[in-house]
Symmetry: C2
Subunit: 221 residues, 2 copies
Amino acid sequence: MAYSNAYAPSAPELPESFDQQQQHHYPYQPTQHFSSSSSGMFSSETHPEIVRSFESADRYRSGFLEESELRQALLCSGYEGISNRTIRFLMFIYKIPGDSLLRLGPKEYVELWNCLAQWRAIFDSYDRDRSGKMNSTELRDAFYHLGYMLPTSVHQLIVSQFDNGTGKTVELSFDSFLECGMIVKGLTEKFKENDPGYTGYATIPYDVFMLMIVPFIASYD
Amino acid sequence: MAYSNAYAPSAPELPESFDQQQQHHYPYQPTQHFSSSSSGMFSSETHPEIVRSFESADRYRSGFLEESELRQALLCSGYEGISNRTIRFLMFIYKIPGDSLLRLGPKEYVELWNCLAQWRAIFDSYDRDRSGKMNSTELRDAFYHLGYMLPTSVHQLIVSQFDNGTGKTVELSFDSFLECGMIVKGLTEKFKENDPGYTGYATIPYDVFMLMIVPFIASYD
């Protein structure tokens, strides 16, 4: 069965009502891309602020950021209030592919930075009263804009994880929005790796299944 | 491909070296089973201590235990130091099948109680010096005794979740052991539901994949 529109975990068209200009008030939007040969150093087109924040956080000039260094880099770049748990998700999703260590190089850091800028812009475009909160319906629309069309059952389950069992209306902070988003993005991408034909079904060996999920169940915060 | 011994997520034979008698010092070991008609009330063979703990925790005499009530029931039954996160896993794994609410009936509570007693006995059988800790090798052996033969890569990944990124030798408390165990048990059972022929491969639709994993990524503690 191919993905129906009802629950395609793929990238739908942006609806006409979405104003691309909304993103422009955020600095350091994605503008440059790396060639595969540029891994290990920044492209000359990289915004200086990104390079500066990486180099400031890279305490031992290793050329990589570990988890604690990423935490510091984000804090110094104005991303306050991001939980250790969300930072662990970011590390896991953006880590160097195939590297046994949990670390980011310049290429991965730029990708992560661009993702955060995009998600921050989407969050702010829904938070017009600057309350710093987003409700369940807005979350669904935001996911749609980011390319994730979630089945209703999945959306409801994700939202219910944030109501502390109260069943009350959820108001998500930017950190919670980012945490939800990294769960959806991370799991959907892992699923797609095992569904190369985009059929809506993935055939997964047991060890791959466990290895792809356990990092999301990171224990500490 | 059928499961090889190298990573069969199924129930292997107990090795000869494992002394079944080790479990006997624990009270309330599994002795009774329910018929399907007994759901909603305790079997007459249920140990009175189990009935008493359920009824004491069931504040509103609803006939069910919610998450906070289970926490209270376990605390009063001598299971101290079990984290909210582990209790959430227990609720998720033992909840009434098909029930939209996260709650336990008597039948589910007995099953959970028996599981805890078994896991406590296994933990204690490895903790001969009563330090309250278990190392990585002992964890692997304990999983084996409980019927889970994990691929090395999966075992290492799970253990690494508990070293707080230090890479140091992990010493697991009973709560961490239980948390590991519920992750392995829960995910393996979900996998098996999608691999009825025990081939080692599961074919899973996207929404089922997301619905089975998101509850393990519960946010709060």
